[in-house]
Amino acid sequence: MNASETTYNDTGLETDLAGVRLCTPVLTASGTCGYGPEYADVLDYRRLGGFTTKSVTLRERPGNEPQRIVEVHAGILNAIGLANVGLRRFIDEKIPFIREMPTRVFVNVAGHSGEDYVEGAAELDKHDCIVGIELNVSCPNVSDGLMFGTDAKLLRQLVEAVRAVIKRGKLIVKLSPNVTDITETARAAVDGGAQILSLINTYAGLSIDTETWKPLLANVTGGLSGPAIRPLALYNIHRVYREVARDADIPIIGMGGIQNARHAVEFLLAGASAIAIGTALFVDPATPIKIADGLSAYLQQHGLRHVSELTGGLKLSG
């Protein structure tokens, strides 16, 4: 990591995420920013807190048949099917670029089995340009990945197994909202050794063509993201922060429908230490920079010295 290239400033936005220093608390969310080169000319990585790659699996995956995406009220449903180049090509073709990126890079790892995750994470952890591994245990599109994210016992075993092989980078566990009680899976991840929690992944959803009576996505169901899920995401972060993360001293990366600095403030107040931008990048890849600027303006207006003063600041009485 070229720490020297990271811009630190006196905007009060520098964030310490479980020991990883970020120039702002604003990251990109996995699957919405490619592997790095795609936005290089339109998103100033020097001013981005962190970058999370598309999910990487051991073997290359072509992904689902189209339609893979459909726009719904205030959001999108997607069923991309974890299309990715696979671990080998990721290392050969993508890491050289990542090594030069002037921001903190997290790699999101997905798998079909516990061994897949362990092998992928161990291999990626050897590359010191990667500051952390985010486990995607919550993608609702691929049936084989779903069980880890929804079964607390399995999740804990998976996180323990991966944590055991990670020597250098931080371990992030990305939680699925498609559960009855997210604090159970959050606790399982923390007990298993997660150093950071990220939430939320997309909500399972369906959209139907009323002329043909067929699903609009070839995969039938997909994951809902965008402004439509924002209050749901906030609710989940609020609960995980109060019931699990705060006492365990585990930072949360909050995401789900964030489009501007006001939304970001809401997520921080609910308990997030950092936030990630997904779907909004499709409309404007520079959104994270605009949010960071908006956050520093907010700090000034409210006489706050540091963005961390917002985390968990939600007032519940009085």
Binding site: T32, Y39, P66, Q67, P227, V283, P285
Partner: protein, 322 residues
């Protein structure tokens, strides 16, 4: 990473001003907007336009017809949805004026909330544009005969290509533009087209230039009765029906038309570039939603998914599978 000195090839979220919004036929509107420093584009490239007022979409009030229900037919925005993602539009023309302002024209057909929003824009209003995106048509450098085959809403990128070919003074270039009926043709004509499929310089380009064109309509209400492939076959026959006429066909239009043109050009020994449409999320190569199958011998299955937004939208006929 782009260095500070290198000129950007695309810009994101550029605020432009609407200069004009005029109907060019029953279903298509030409929307011209201006902005400073927009990168140069190639015909076939597209822009992604934000088609809602705020970054935060709010549902609109649906107007119910008196005594009835809003129609559920597709394209009818009965649930009051506003466009959240940007919408892709082929660049229909682009030029820089004496003041250095870039003018861009898109031709839009109203089919849903985003295009309905565009329809209501008035001169002076703001429009947020990203582009130019994708790869355009590749114009061969040797003096081969060129045919521009467009159907309906696929015509705009070919009008831009026609103007480029006109500037390049390509002698042997013909447009074949088709529509279902007279008032659905999204291009202005300066004179009546021939009914026998003979190219006449009737198509209007910016600056009142004329381009040789054959116009077809399904019902014969304008130009030649029939479809664009009928006119393409005639164009070929008029060249003496040689078993092989070297030439390049540039095609854009509905899926069925593209398939027919693809098949016919293969039969006639013409090479063919197709500008295709796919549902897009980002237009920037990150959401992986705009996939199309292409041949790839390096893969075990002999094929892979390509991205329409960044590998296309123009593909060579031989690259595309089905």
């Amino acid at each position: 990473m782009t260095t500070a000195e290198s000129k950007p090839t695309r810009v994101c979220g550029r605020v432009a001003r609407v200069a004009a919004n005029t109907a060019i036929c029953r279903e298509h509107r030409a929307i011209e907007f201006t902005t400073a420093d927009f990168p140069n584009s190639e015909p076939g490239q597209f822009v992604q336009l934000q088609c809602c007022d705020a970054s935060e979409p709010s549902p609109r009030v649906v107007e119910w017809p008196a005594g009835g229900f809003p129609s559920l037919a597709s394209g009818n925005n009965w649930d009051g949805r506003s466009a959240f993602l940007r919408r892709p539009f082929s660049i229909g023309d682009q030029w820089r004026d004496a003041n250095g302002l870039t003018h861009i024209v898109i031709i839009s057909r109203t089919v849903g909330p985003g295009t309905a929003w565009l329809e209501r824009l008035t001169p002076g209003e703001a429009l947020n544009a990203t582009g130019p995106l994708g790869h355009g048509f590749r114009i061969p450098s040797d003096d081969l005969p060129l045919v521009l085959v467009g159907g309906g809403v696929g015509i705009p990128p070919l009008v831009y290509l026609a103007r480029r070919l006109d500037e390049l003074k390509r002698r042997d270039a013909t447009a074949i533009f088709g529509a279902t009926t007279r008032d659905l043709l999204p291009i202005r004509l300066l004179s009546e087209p021939a009914t026998d499929g003979k190219p006449l310089p009737c198509a209007e380009l910016a600056g009142s230039a004329r381009f040789p064109a054959v116009i077809t309509t399904d019902d014969g209400s304008l130009g030649m009765r029939g479809v664009v492939t009928d006119a393409l076959r005639k164009w070929h026959a008029d060249r003496g029906n040689q078993s092989r006429v070297d030439g390049v066909v540039f095609a854009c239009g509905p899926e069925g038309m593209l398939k027919a043109v693809s098949q016919m050009t293969r039969e006639l020994g013409l090479s063919c570039q197709l500008c295709i449409e796919r549902k897009m999320g980002c237009g920037l190569g990150t959401c992986l939603s705009c996939v199309v199958r292409v041949r790839d011998e390096s893969k075990a299955e002999g094929r892979r998914w390509a991205l329409t937004c960044s590998d296309g939208p123009v593909f060579d006929r031989e690259e595309l599978i089905d």
